[in-house]
Symmetry: C2
């Protein structure tokens, strides 16, 4: 089996489809990588692009898409719900097949050096690629967001790991790292009171001492007149989707607010959804090998 790295760059543009397309075209045009998915969110003003390939090709695609994004996105004009520090806000490398997390972490450092040298983007290293322990957690890097970081980037504790000691004048900085597959899971609440989404998000966050491996924040969905608990589930094996959703349902009930829907942004490992089905159906003795498609794949 060939080497497979998944890469999920998040760019700070979710409202101008022509810009998103121009960036994604760089992925489409890079030999050796396959575009799997992309989705844009107007409220977040952010797009998530997912592609896979061998490590060398994935790195080429990352440099190309970053160069394109920097051409079009001016962080000084950017607003959106999701915290961000740059036009190419984050590039995670995720081991899928025939590659380790450590190898991805090493590649993240190389990629960071290329982004600085070739695109003039200063780079913060996070996750398994972090050089400073506090930067394993991406939230610490995003503190103050683009606007705040412009002021503080010269301070010793906020200096980029590669490049700087200043931000790109329009594209800010980029966070590059390695991690395991995560799930972007959002839960919509039947209220327009954002403070309720905020409070529920707070009750879930690992930083509040509740769930490990969950990043959560409240988001207003203006058009729907609803609010959302927007999450990254960073370890769906230890903190499964259903446990998080059930916690949200209980917390929301305390405010008399119903869960009206949820969404998974981008890709999700099959196991995460099978685990949810298994839990809600109270299945005993179930194995993923019982899934017909999984068995046929082995033939």
């Amino acid at each position: 089996m060939s080497q497979l790295v998944q890469c999920v760059p998040n760019i700070s543009e979710g409202r101008r489809p022509e810009v998103v397309e121009a960036v994604i075209d760089q992925v489409r045009q890079t030999p050796g990588v396959h575009l799997l998915d992309y989705s844009s969110d107007r409220d977040h003003n952010r797009s998530v692009i997912t592609f896979v390939g061998n490590l060398a090709s994935v790195m080429e695609a990352c440099v190309a898409l970053s160069r394109e994004a920097v051409k079009h996105i001016d962080m000084n004009q950017h607003s959106g719900e999701h915290p961000r520090i740059g036009a190419v806000d984050v590039i995670p490398l995720i081991p899928i097949q025939n590659i380790t997390l450590q190898e991805c972490a090493q590649a993240a450092v190389e990629l960071g050096q290329r982004l600085w040298e070739e695109v003039k983007l200063p780079v913060y290293l996070y996750g398994a690629a972090a050089r400073k322990p506090e930067r394993e957690n991406i939230s610490n890097i995003r503190r103050g967001e683009y606007e705040g970081l412009r002021m503080t980037v010269v301070q010793a504790e906020r200096l980029p790991d590669i490049g700087g000691p200043y931000l790109h004048p329009t594209a800010g900085a980029t966070i590059v790292g390695a991690r395991l597959a995560l799930i972007a899971f959002n839960v919509n609440l039947g209220t327009s009171d954002k403070s309720i989404a905020d409070a529920i998000a707070k009750s879930l966050r690992s930083s509040s001492g509740s769930f490990q491996h969950v990043k959560a924040m409240g988001v207003a969905l203006e058009k729907r007149g609803q609010v959302q608990v927007s999450m990254n589930l960073e370890n769906y094996k230890r903190t499964p989707i259903h446990r998080v959703l059930e916690a949200i349902r209980r917390e929301a009930a305390r405010y008399g607010v119903p869960v009206v829907g949820s969404e998974i942004i981008g890709l999700v490992p099959q196991e995460a959804l099978l685990d949810a089905a298994q839990w809600y159906l109270q299945l005993e003795g179930f194995s993923p090998k019982q899934v017909l498609e999984n068995r046929l794949r082995e033939l």
Copy 2:
């Protein structure tokens, strides 16, 4: 892509592993077929074997396993919860890839002829292969089970479609047909009162005018001190797992009885579990293409 037929023979033996193994060995030894799964149930005294292959090889395996089962199983000594009329109780042919339901139905007739000529098993045709409309529904063929059918087999309306007009002296008769993939789904209740499982099963059955495409019956699980609603979901697209389970939960609550667990016997299409996850998670806008494995398979 090659032709793929799934075949799920049910044999009337779930307590003697050596007999089950001898029968399954016939599948293992047939070139061109792949054994996917098998499971035995002591209470049902029945085993379900699942394999796939091209049509010709699947038919060879069916004749071989039937010959072996007939050697070991004496229906005059058989008892078990599940209704049955023979040692090789039923053989369904299921189109998976590059073959139609009608082609499988035609093949079922040929297979029936071989079982009669080569193994002396009289055959009833069911599902898409049925010659009489009332035999589309397998329950009508099993009416009175082995013991009753011994007496009634000579009556015009109970005559086998192929062979007879008598049963095999020890192996009874075999039901052969073609159908779409079904899900064997059992729900366990926290009571030892079988009449509750019976009543819930009755409330679900299509024959009672409730759910289409659901076969259900009450079963006592002696060892667990529980009862079970044992089901075949014959069309998981029209009557999904979660809708059936939720109906059972509501019916059981009326007796103050909890659902304590469920099980899927054998294989299940991925779509059926994704649909359940999607429903319980209240997912909006979800597509099976978001499942990472599904996308990687296309590369």
